[in-house]
């Protein structure tokens, strides 16, 4: 039989990971639920003042998105590491960075994309001005894949450690900060009626940098973790 082409292998692994998350729905709904809960708790805690809420809305939504992303990171490689599937992937006939990219894409589709879908509702709930809502969606669309891509490096480095959770947070959080700063500032600027293309271009450049470099770093990190 002919070997699967690289594209076929990519989509096969993507499909497999999506099937796995579908069969483990409860686990993957967790980050989304966390995201919604954190944001809905804010008005309850600081009072329903429309002016204040709409001012801090970009910050709240982005901090919640970032924490939700961190919460979900461990699932990228954890179960594969525990049951030996990761060993088999590393021994695959296909280049590991492409397989890593397939896994990260699947991870973003089940954890990042839902955030994008619910954030318009949450933005309206916090009273965010309508001109900022479009920009918010755009930053989440560009920003969450960056979070998944950078996060995969950290997970790959810590997956072999028995208690990797704390190190993972310390390792990854500093790398997330630039995304947070530029994304929140873009939404805030848009709310104030400013031109925010600079921030968006910056985010886009982060995305392409992460897209091209992080699968390589992740594949190398996995090799080290397996050693």
């Amino acid at each position: 039989m002919k070997r699967y082409s690289l594209t076929q292998a990519f989509f096969y692994l993507l499909k497999r990971d999506l099937t796995l998350s579908f069969r483990n729905r409860a686990e993957f709904a967790n980050p989304l639920l966390f995201f919604i809960l954190v944001i809905t708790l804010f008005p309850l805690a600081i009072g329903a003042e429309p002016v204040l809420l709409s001012r801090i809305a970009p910050g709240i939504i982005w901090v919640a998105a970032l924490l939700a992303a961190m919460l979900s990171l461990d699932s990228i490689f954890r179960s594969d590491f525990d049951d030996g599937s990761l060993e088999q992937l590393l021994l695959s006939a296909h280049p590991m960075p492409i397989l890593v990219l397939a896994k990260v894409t699947a991870h973003w589709l089940v954890t990042g994309l839902p955030l994008l879908l619910v954030s318009p509702v949450l933005a309206i709930m916090l009273g965010m001005p309508s001109e900022a809502q479009g920009i918010l969606l755009l930053t989440i669309l560009i920003g969450t894949p960056i979070l998944s891509l950078i996060g995969s490096i950290g997970v790959a480095l810590t997956v072999g450690l028995p208690k990797g959770g704390i190190i993972l947070s310390l390792l990854i959080l500093p790398l997330y900060v630039p995304v947070l700063i530029f994304a929140a500032s873009a939404v805030e600027g848009a709310a104030g009626g400013l031109d925010v293309s600079a921030q968006l271009y910056m985010l886009l450049s982060f995305l392409f940098l992460a897209l091209s470099l992080s699968p390589l770093a992740t594949a190398a990190a996995l090799k080290i973790s397996m050693n």
Binding site: T19, L20, R23, E87, A93
Partner: protein, 208 residues
């Protein structure tokens, strides 16, 4: 007859936590030969096997596949190797067929039909059963079905007989003999007695 060594281990050493597991290990394997790695628990059997797959780095020494160092060959070497380790490497949430299909997609698929492969390992009626519902022995048989659905010259097997019953052990033994007869190589560890008179077995005892 001119024989070339397919797999050559050259001056290999492995150290873990300041403890020397083995050092200056050299041997070579030709077509149709089997290497049986023996030794007590913790003597480095699994480490040796993982070094042979390329998953683990040796502290010293090199492994050659057809004369090239395996780390240089990369995935070119991996497509010639099938490894079944301690962990079965199958996903509990997927069905048997889905697992085997993934194995084929990631590796170098053989011409065997997946249903036939399941029949060969006595799992025919379990094709659409989730692996979580299989027993440990059945899961092990599914993991070893990896050997049938992929085409590889070198089989690296870590305790393949774990949780297998006698009938399944005989089944895999005959599978191993066929593979060796076709010119393949097997490297394996096992605590069970290997009774294969027709096979050219090299024994390596890591305890000594």
């Amino acid at each position: 007859m001119f024989e070339t060594a397919l797999l050559k281990i050259d001056n290999l050493s492995c150290i873990r936590d300041d403890r020397v597991l083995f050092e200056h290990l050299s041997l070579s394997l030709c077509c149709g030969q089997m290497l049986l790695v023996e030794g007590r628990n913790g003597s480095g059997k699994t480490s040796l096997l993982r070094i042979l797959t390329g998953l683990k780095m040796a502290d010293e020494g090199d492994i050659y596949w057809r004369g090239t160092v395996i780390s240089r060959e990369g995935s070119g070497y991996h497509e010639r190797v099938t490894y079944v380790g301690h962990h079965d490497g199958v996903k509990r949430e997927l069905t048997c067929l889905e697992n085997l299909r993934l194995v084929q997609a990631m590796g170098n698929p053989s011409a065997v039909d997946l249903d036939d492969a399941l029949e060969q390992v006595n799992l025919y009626r379990y094709g659409d059963t989730a692996v979580a519902n299989l027993s440990a022995g059945q899961r092990r048989r599914l993991a070893l079905a990896r050997l049938i659905v992929t085409e590889a010259d070198l089989w690296i097997l870590d305790e393949p007989y774990t949780s297998l019953d006698k009938a399944s052990m005989a089944l895999y033994q005959s599978l191993f003999e066929t593979h060796l007869k076709q010119g393949g190589i097997i490297v394996m560890t096992s605590h069970h007695d290997i009774d294969m008179p027709s096979v050219d077995v090299q024994r390596l005892d890591l305890s000594s």
